[in-house]
């Protein structure tokens, strides 16, 4: 018998007492009623706790914020689906867009290229205020998983309308079969004496720009 048949047989035999399949009680919180300002406040509080940097901006002020954040940075990557108008201010400071490298179907950045890039700017799919989590699902404004991983600094744009209060609300807005990365702060470890320190293999700096709707 092959291994598959063998294992399935063993498991069926182990269950010969036919244990009942219990009803799953779903009386944990599945919805919440926080307003936009409360959601922004809660998400900000949680992200700061993880030692991320948080900037809350009106939509019109985002290009200015990005220009300030990118000041003094070398080259930075952006996914092809991210609105290029967001970089108008940064480009004006640069006198051209020489520092910006776009990853898209026409031009895939190699791992080595990405390793030579200082920062990445992406959008996001949804966020969870209660846990300080931002979820990327490789949408066009977020790009391939690798681009938000290799550069040492991740500047992530979150629309206020994409913030949910609790995890069940966020997951209902997502397609589970898309490649996902859930990000809660910069990379960190608790492996030495169980004390948390930020900054290991993933981006060591996480800047979050929350855009009011």
């Amino acid at each position: 018998m092959n291994a598959r048949a063998d294992i399935l047989d063993r498991i069926r035999s182990a269950l010969r007492d036919a244990p009942a399949v219990p009803e799953v009680p779903r009386d944990y919180r599945r919805a919440s009623e926080l307003g936009e300002e409360e959601l922004i406040e809660l998400l900000t509080d949680r992200l700061l706790d993880y030692k991320a940097n948080v900037f809350v901006e009106e939509a019109a002020a985002v290009p200015q914020r990005l220009a300030v954040l990118l000041e003094g940075t070398g080259r930075y990557a952006v996914p092809h689906g991210l609105d290029q108008a967001l970089f108008a201010e940064a480009d004006a400071h640069d006198a051209g867009s020489g520092r910006r490298v776009t990853d898209g179907p026409g031009h895939r950045l190699s791992v080595d290229e990405l390793d030579g890039i200082d920062a990445v700017v992406t959008g996001s799919a949804v966020a969870v205020a209660e846990t300080g989590t931002i979820i990327l699902d490789a949408g066009p404004d977020q790009g391939r998983r690798v681009i938000s991983l290799v550069p040492d600094r991740h500047i992530c744009i979150v629309s206020a309308g994409d913030i949910t209060a609790i995890l069940p609300e966020a997951l209902r807005r997502l397609d589970g079969t898309r490649p996902q990365t859930w990000i809660s702060g910069p990379s960190a470890t608790s492996d030495i004496e169980l004390e948390r320190v930020e900054g290991v293999h993933g981006p060591r700096t996480l800047d979050v720009v929350i855009v009011r709707g």
Binding site: V21, V111, S184, T189, L194
Partner: protein
């Protein structure tokens, strides 16, 4: 529905690999307790994590509802395991992944090595995984000429030190920061000789050490925290970004996962992703979680494999009393609250799975009679702290007691099998005697008449330090105080004698008629 088994029931097939206690637990524990540095390190680390966990768990108003949902989901997964495995396999395969089934550790190791060889690779990067630790994959790959690089910081510390993990979440919990610095200075090529013991500096050293490995790796090996049957999705929960590196950069990804890790669907993930981070690192959410479903064109590994591992899980499932041990999501909360683990550390348990969950899971996977695993169910005071902390409500104390019973029964069976006339054991005789003594007050009164013998045995220091036969196990780690001079019955009888001795007899107590207590025992 494929849930009904109609064939002949097969005997349970137990697991092999790094699942064994090689010496009786009390012996291993005694040795580990002799290391004061280890006890200081563990005391500090488990105290830190206990406080953090308590703070973030008490934040959630629906923690108990989440635990109950988690328990019910896992119970339904176990009851429906064959159909869910088939559903998962169909979805994972439809999305471009390849499934391999491994009956035991040896078969899993051979599959992984062959997949690596197919890529012409001689080294792999690894994400921390309990399943590959259990099957001894790194050791096997080394024999095959393949170098496996652990990339989780604590696993890296353990690997560089040629040591063994002692905790399922923080394998180097038994090392403090200065010991870690010394290991890095000694074993890490090209490390800054000025390296200090600051955790941030140590983490930076690990980043520099592994960076090239990540960027050039062709093959990665991972475990998985969850697998969703209705979509074929896999999930890895981590902190450092080493997981993302391994799951995203290499062309080939090989995941090894126990068959019990399945969840029915997407809706179930919301329960476990609230339970796991708070229970394990005491964070509201872990820094990174990666989800992938087979192959995604142009994004991540294009050659995706999953090895589904039995290695004794079906045997554990066959134990109706013990099967809920398979609900474990490897959070490590039970070891962090365990008074035994906190003092002995993880190495004393021998197996990949230490602490309270290890004390039940290891013997369930290997069978109670394997090596010294029958000593593990006794590595507990049955205080119940593990049950309270468990995010999926595994009743560890009940299963410990159940396995102690299995141990006693297995010893009885062994003697029977030798073909000789079965002699009653000391335990049998003791139990029989106790059952007679406790069956009536009269019998117990007779037994109590023997109390003065106990006082004699205690001697002048009034302590019994060594009992004979199997009772020696009891006095191995504690003394019994000398029994009192009289029993409660004797005292009662004297106190409540009919006042026939003459007037006033009840007013002035005669010598020796006060309530028995320590002070009047001469």
């Amino acid at each position: 529905m494929s849930g009904t088994f109609l064939g002949m029931p097969s005997l349970p097939v137990f697991g092999i690999g790094n699942l064994h206690e090689h010496e009786p637990f009390p012996k291993a524990a005694r040795r580990e307790l002799g290391n004061p540095q280890l006890r200081a390190n563990l005391g500090h680390a488990t105290r830190t994590i206990r406080d953090k966990r308590l703070a973030v768990v008490s934040e959630l108003p629906d923690w108990e509802e989440l635990r109950e949902a988690g328990r019910a989901i896992k119970e339904s997964v176990m009851a429906r395991l064959p159909e869910l495995l088939e559903e998962f396999e169909a979805n994972f395969t439809a999305r471009g992944g390849t499934i391999h089934w491994a009956r035991d550790a040896g078969e899993a190791n051979r599959i992984v090595a062959a997949l690596i060889r197919d890529q012409g690779a001689t080294e792999v990067v690894k994400v921390k995984s309990m399943a590959t630790q259990e099957i001894g994959l790194n050791e096997y790959l080394e024999e095959q000429g393949i170098a496996a690089f652990e990339t989780d910081l604590a696993e890296l510390i353990v690997q560089l030190d040629h040591d063994k993990p002692s905790h399922i979440l923080v394998p180097a919990i038994h090392k403090n920061r200065s010991q870690v610095r010394d290991i890095f200075l000694r074993e890490m090529e090209g490390v800054d000789p000025e390296l200090t013991n600051e955790p941030a500096r140590l983490a930076a050293a690990a980043r520099a050490h592994l960076r090239r490995k990540f960027l050039s790796a062709k093959v990665a090996v991972s475990g998985a925290n969850f697998a969703l049957a209705d979509s074929g999705t896999l999930a890895v929960v981590e902190s450092e970004g080493n997981g993302r590196m391994c799951l995203t950069l290499p062309e080939t990804l090989i995941t090894v996962m126990g068959v019990e890790k399945l969840l029915p669907g997407w809706e179930d993930l919301e329960v476990f992703m609230q339970l796991l981070p708070r229970s394990s690192t005491g964070e509201r959410m872990n820094p990174y979680t990666s989800l992938w479903t087979g192959v995604t064109a142009d994004d991540g590994p294009q050659n995706v494999h999953l090895v589904l591992l039995d290695n004794g899980r079906s045997a554990a499932l066959a134990d109706e009393m013990g099967r809920s041990a398979l609900h474990c999501i490897r959070c490590s909360a039970c070891m962090n609250v365990c008074p035994v683990y906190e003092r002995t550390g993880g190495h004393a348990y021998g197996s990949t799975y230490p602490g309270p969950i290890g004390a039940i899971l290891s013997p369930l996977l290997t069978g109670i009679t394997a090596e010294e695993n029958n000593s593990l169910p006794y590595a507990s005071s049955l205080c119940g702290a593990c049950y309270d902390a468990c995010p999926v409500k595994i009743n560890i104390p009940d299963i410990l007691v159940h396995l102690r019973g299995e141990d006693v029964d297995s010893k009885r069976d062994k003697r029977g099998k030798r073909g000789r006339e079965r002699l009653p054991s000391q335990m049998d005789l003791g139990m029989k005697a106790a059952s007679w003594a406790l069956s009536s007050g009269k019998n117990l009164g007779l037994v109590e008449k023997a109390l003065p013998l106990g006082r004699l045995a205690a001697g002048p220091d009034r302590k019994i330090t060594k009992l004979p036969g199997i009772a020696a196990g009891w006095t191995q780690s504690r003394d019994i105080p000398a029994p009192p001079g009289q029993t409660f019955r004797q005292w009662w009888d004297k106190e409540h004698q009919a006042p026939a001795a003459g007037p006033g007899a009840g007013a002035a107590p005669a010598a020796g008629t006060e309530a028995p207590g320590p002070k009047e025992n001469p």
